[in-house]
């Protein structure tokens, strides 16, 4: 995916190795963004179908739950023969699939919680179903969607590193390298980087969600 060869950890100390940490953290962040975005892009149309066709929702829930029950390492392994053994595509696609169980459910439940009079008002104003979905139902479902996004993103950040077992997975590579070459500092650095990245994403999405849903603060203090 990246042309330049990734930097290697030199020696057993931290100093001089910040470029390695930075490189893999940036890569990890990129994978997370791609995976969660892919998940969201898939989840919105699925949720649309689920809110319009009563039968579709339980089927979708069952399907996404089955995917969710597949262990991460196993899902990487299952996707590898199709997407390749030497790149990180299986990991990104697996992560995107995992986010579906959270995102589809949260979008659908969020939309179902939109009060009936609001839907009626939109209909009365002449909104077509698609436009009503995009302009009325989705925005009102945002608090639930944001909660789902936070959970999905934090899980994704942590899970990508499982790729270490098969020698992949951004910061996971620092785990496999640090383990094989017995460099404790590299392991600790990767550990802190994963946790810091997860927290950072969590805070950013939380803040963005608050900015995007000012009405939740007026109505109640729960937000």
């Amino acid at each position: 995916m990246l042309a330049a060869s990734p930097p290697q950890w030199n020696g057993r100390q931290l100093s001089g190795n910040w470029d390695v940490i930075w490189y893999y953290t940036a890569l990890h962040a990129r994978y997370t963004v791609i995976a969660v975005t892919l998940g969201l892009v898939l989840a919105v149309p699925l949720a649309y179908v689920a809110t319009r066709r009563r039968v579709a929702y339980p089927v979708l829930l069952a399907a996404t739950n089955i995917i969710y029950a597949i262990p991460a390492l196993t899902l990487f392994a299952l996707l590898s023969p199709w997407l390749g053994y030497l790149n990180d595509k299986p990991i990104i696609v697996a992560m995107a699939l995992y986010t579906l169980v959270i995102l589809v459910r949260n979008i659908v439940e969020g939309i179902r919680a939109v009060p009936e009079p609001v839907i009626r008002a939109a209909d009365g104003m002449g909104y077509r179903p698609m436009r009503r979905f995009v302009a009325v139902e989705l925005p009102l479902a945002l608090p639930g969607i944001v909660a789902g996004l936070r959970l999905a993103t934090v899980s994704t950040v942590s899970l990508i590193s499982v790729g270490a077992v098969i020698g992949r997975g951004a910061l996971g590579k620092m785990f496999s390298d640090g383990y094989q070459r017995r460099i404790a500092v590299e392991l600790w650095s990767a550990m802190f980087a994963v946790i810091a990245l997860a927290l950072l994403f969590d805070v950013v999405i939380y803040a963005a969600g608050r900015l995007a849903t000012p009405w939740t603060r007026v109505r109640s203090a729960r937000a």
Binding site: A69, P71, W82, Y85, V165, G172, R182
Partner: protein, 245 residues
């Protein structure tokens, strides 16, 4: 599709099952480590969850700590602990126990929280002491959710114990680890199918356990939504959800 068929062929070939590096031994290791880790996690997490749920104190801390907890990468814990305890199963067990604690604690707390206020009032009204109320009213009523928590913890453990293969300690993870280096799609698929089958087996066992342990009255009353809480999150229950690993 052919990869999956190749995997099934690899998995069902009796030649691959025997010996020190066979599937049979790997499955036993997989199940044994998972069992030990899950039991240890229950021993640690259940009292904590009951204490928080019963007293109502520390709930805020528990929910937030669990959120942060989710961010801890298992593979990191394994590799780090392995550094000072090489060639022992403890690093893997410690990582797995750490992983399995939050869903059990959160579901136990949620289980006690979900008991209707009048039920708890009735317990107090009947003159039950705090301890009696906990063991005779709260635990039986919270049991569906507690079991759901243990189930999701067990599933996570079964899925994650594969990392033992990474540090050379067996389990079905070994096959995935070596197959990824040699690009053997059939072994990868076969081992994956075996792990998924184990997960399904555990799911089934917990369904039976639920049937056997939960009082029929409680079973009838618990809404389906709550019974499935740990694996299928609704928005208010997001924090109780575990992640695949």
């Amino acid at each position: 599709m052919s990869t999956i068929l190749d995997g099934i062929q690899w998995l069902t070939d009796p030649d691959n099952w025997g010996g020190r590096n066979g599937i049979g031994r790997a499955v036993l290791q997989h199940v044994w480590y998972s069992l030990v880790a899950t039991l240890l996690a229950v021993i640690i997490a259940l009292p904590i969850g009951l204490l928080i749920g019963h007293t109502g104190r520390g709930r805020f801390v528990a929910v937030n700590v669990s959120g942060l907890w989710r961010a801890i990468p298992t593979i990191g814990v394994v590799t780090l602990v392995f550094r000072w305890q090489p060639l022992s199963i403890w690093p893997v067990l410690i990582a797995l126990v750490l992983l399995a604690i939050p869903p059990i604690v959160l579901n136990t707390v949620a289980g006690i929280d979900s008991i209707p206020a009048d039920v708890r009032d009735a317990a107090t009204g009947m003159g039950l002491t705090g301890r009696q109320a906990l063991f005779q009213v709260e635990i039986p009523n919270a049991l569906p959710l507690i079991l759901a928590g243990v189930r999701s913890a067990a599933n996570q453990v079964i899925a994650t114990v594969s990392v033992a293969g990474f540090v050379g300690l067996g389990t079905l993870g070994v096959f995935i680890f070596t197959a990824s280096r040699t690009a053997r799609g059939d072994i990868m698929a076969g081992a994956s199918i075996a792990i998924i089958l184990l997960v399904l087996l555990v799911e089934g066992m917990f369904a039976l356990l639920q049937r056997a342990l939960v009082s029929p009255g409680v079973r009838a009353r618990t809404p389906r939504r709550l019974r499935r809480a740990a694996t299928v999150p609704t928005i208010p229950q997001l924090s109780e959800m575990s992640e695949p690993s």
